[in-house]
Every structure is written in structure tokens, then in C-alpha cells.
């Protein structure tokens, strides 16, 4: 039977031969420097960029509405929607971007790196979750209100008072229902995006911290 000290010998005698076949030239190493990273932080950064682009596309679409519907009310409403939605979302994205800037490189030991990565990832995901959840009723209320208001402006819903307390309560209920529905969806989405990976990182850290509990 093989003894464990023999493992070291097997390794030191045979590993060089095995990895020697995989050695790559300097030019190939240089070419790798231009490739894209698949690291978790770069992954998060890429997703944030997609979100920001989508947000601006939506804003652009709203801004284009008055081009097709030449009503003063429609233009005013679009400006209000853009202003009201733009400011909180902009704060939200700046906060997320600033969190990402704080993310580290792997210069420290494994335990410290894991600790830092977990803390930063948890903070980022918390901003992601609560930010999205808080912005849902604002977006829901404004979308509901905008749809009704513009339908009235376009000549539909003639006998409908958009500013009545009953209508506003209805839109508010719709926004709250949307928020309630988005809670489990957001939880699932964030878990699907990074949650499982975060669990894996926590397990590794737990294993490294076990010397304090053993």
C-alpha cells in the first residue's frame, strides 16, 4: 500500500512531466492579457452595466412618447416620470457602482480575501435587493398613473377622474401588490445570480475559521 510520504515523491517526480506538456509560450501568455475576466467582481460589473444600459433605453423610450403623441399633457407627464424615476434610480446605480469600486484584488491571504469578498458581496447584494424593492412601488405607481393619465389624454376613459382619491388608491394598491410580488422574485433572482456562489464562499470561510471553534 502507498504511504503518504510517497505521495510527495510521486508528486515531485511526476508532476513536472505532466504539466510540462501544458507549458505555453510567452506570446500566448501576452495574448491572455487581452482576454475578458470571468471573475465574480467582473461578472457583477458586467451585469450592472447591462442594467444601466437597459435603464437608459427605457428612459429614452419614455422620452420618445411625446414625439408620437403631440399632447401637452403627455409631454408634461413624460417629463415628470423621467425626473421622478431618474433621480432615485441614478442614486441607486451610483451607490451600486461605488460599492463595486471598493472591491479588492486577490493580493491578500485566502482567508482575508474570502472575508472581504463575502462582506462586500453581501453589502452589494443587500443594496441590490432593497434598492430594487424600494424602487418597485415608485415605478409601479408612476407607470399605473401614466397609463391612466395618457389614456384619458388620448380620449379614452372620458368619465374617469385620474386624480380622484379612489383612482389614486387603486394605483397605490397596484404598486404595493407589484412590490409584494417582486419580493420573492427578487429573492429568487439574486440567489440565482450570486446567492449559491456566496454560499460556497461562506462554506470555504467557515472551514478556514474552524480552528477557532475546534
Amino acid at each position: 500500500m502507498i504511504e503518504l510520504e510517497d505521495l510527495k515523491n510521486i508528486w515531485s517526480n511526476k508532476i513536472e512531466n505532466d504539466i510540462g506538456q501544458q507549458a505555453i509560450e510567452q506570446e500566448k501568455i501576452r495574448a491572455l492579457l487581452n482576454k475578458k475576466s470571468t471573475n465574480i467582481i467582473d461578472h457583477v460589473r458586467k451585469n450592472l452595466l447591462i442594467e444601466i444600459i437597459m435603464f437608459f433605453v427605457c428612459l429614452l423610450l419614455i422620452a420618445c412618447v411625446p414625439i408620437y403623441f403631440h399632447y401637452k399633457e403627455v409631454t408634461i407627464l413624460c417629463v415628470i416620470v423621467i425626473m421622478v424615476v431618474f433621480v432615485p434610480y441614478l442614486i441607486y446605480y451610483i451607490k451600486k457602482y461605488n460599492e463595486l469600486k471598493k472591491f479588492f484584488s486577490y493580493n491578500q491571504d485566502i482567508k482575508s480575501s474570502l472575508q472581504l469578498l463575502i462582506t462586500q458581496l453581501e453589502k452589494y447584494l443587500s443594496i441590490y435587493f432593497w434598492g430594487s424593492l424600494l424602487l418597485t412601488p415608485i415605478s409601479g405607481f408612476l407607470s399605473g398613473f401614466a397609463v391612466l393619465y395618457e389614456m384619458k389624454a388620448l380620449g379614452f376613459l372620458l368619465y374617469f377622474d385620474v386624480f380622484s382619491s379612489a383612482t389614486l388608491s387603486m394605483i397605490l394598491s397596484f404598486a404595493l401588490l407589484l412590490t409584494l410580488l417582486s419580493y420573492p422574485i427578487m429573492k429568487w433572482y439574486i440567489r440565482k445570480l450570486y446567492g449559491q456562489h456566496l454560499e460556497k464562499l461562506k462554506d470555504c470561510l467557515k472551514e478556514l475559521n474552524a480552528d477557532f471553534t475546534d
Binding site: 500500500m1 502507498i2 503518504l4 505521495l7 510527495k8 510521486i10 508528486w11 515531485s12 511526476k14 508532476i15 513536472e16 512531466n17 505532466d18 504539466i19 501544458q22 507549458a23 505555453i24 509560450e25 510567452q26 501568455i29 501576452r30 491572455l32 492579457l33 482576454k35 475576466s37 470571468t38 471573475n39 465574480i40 461578472h43 484584488s105 486577490y106 493580493n107 491578500q108 491571504d109 485566502i110 482567508k111 482575508s112 480575501s113 474570502l114 469578498l117 456562489h197 464562499l201 462554506d203 470555504c204 472551514e207 478556514l208 474552524a210 480552528d211 475546534d214
Partner: protein, 159 residues
């Protein structure tokens, strides 16, 4: 600086290949991890202080990348994928049988255990393993004795 970096990596690329060998089971995964480690080392290179041991610095970043990295899930669903894995297995036949057993046993260890066992096999002192992993040298010794027991059982199974 780029030339200096490329030369350093070229000189010590064995470290990266060894980490890839320990953490990845197939060639594609190994290539992806190798690329990611090079990119992370390149990012960290400006902060590297020459008084530090280059191998310790490289192990630290390479192992951090391997442990914290997002790796694609391996799902064998199609016949084509099964065939490609069989072909890959045939390529591995050329590797020494003892080394193959060792690789297979290491596959069953956790990511943290893999990092410790790699450094142990590389004949690093417990103090240096502690410096790379961030745990105490005493705990490295405790961990290593548990890993040895695990490996002993696993290798027995493969022999």
C-alpha cells in the same frame, strides 16, 4: 512592465498549471482557470513588492482565484458531451497511474483542503502554508493530518 510580467509568468507557469490540475477535471476548465489566474496576477502585479517571495505571491493569487472564481457547471446531457469526456479520459491515460490515483483522490477534497494539500505536496513549510491560507501553522498541521487520513482512505479505494 508587461514584458517583465510575461517573463515572470513564463518562468513560474508551473505553479498555475499545478493549481489548474488540482481544481479542474477537464482541459476546457483548466484553460479557463489558467486565463483567469493570469488576468488576476496581471491586475495585482503593480502592487507586487519584489522583496516578497514570487512563488508565495503567485500561489496566493492563483489559489484565491481558484477558490473564489465562478466556474461553469458541468452538466452532461448530450451524447456528444459524453463522447468528448471519454476522449479526454483517453488522453489522461498517458499520465502515470500513481499520479492519476492521487488526482482522483484529491478531487474528493474540499476547495480549502485542495489548496492545503497542493502546498504540502509542493513541500512548503507549514509556516508558508499558513501565510498563504491565512490560518495558523498549528491549524495547518491539524488540517493536514485530517487530509492525510482522507487521502489514505481514498487512495486505498482507487488502488
Amino acid at each position: 512592465m508587461e514584458q517583465q510580467f510575461v517573463q515572470t509568468i513564463n518562468q513560474h507557469q508551473g505553479i498555475l498549471h499545478k493549481v489548474c490540475r488540482i481544481y479542474c477535471n477537464n482541459v476546457t476548465e483548466r484553460e479557463d482557470l489558467f486565463q483567469e489566474m493570469v488576468l488576476q496576477l496581471w491586475k495585482a502585479f503593480p502592487s507586487f513588492r519584489s522583496e516578497a517571495k514570487i512563488s508565495t505571491w503567485m500561489y496566493r493569487i492563483a489559489l484565491n482565484t481558484a477558490i473564489s472564481g465562478l466556474r461553469k457547471k458541468k452538466i452532461l446531457t448530450t451524447e456528444l458531451e459524453k463522447v468528448s469526456f471519454q476522449l479526454e479520459d483517453k488522453k489522461e491515460v498517458s499520465i502515470d497511474e500513481d499520479l492519476q490515483h492521487l488526482y482522483k483522490a484529491i478531487e474528493h477534497l474540499s476547495d480549502v483542503e485542495k489548496s492545503i494539500v497542493l502546498l504540502y505536496l509542493e513541500d512548503k513549510a507549514y509556516e508558508e502554508i499558513a501565510e498563504i491560507t491565512g490560518i495558523t501553522a498549528n491549524y495547518v498541521a491539524v488540517k493536514m493530518s485530517r487530509i492525510k487520513e482522507k487521502l489514505k482512505t481514498l487512495i486505498k479505494v482507487y488502488q
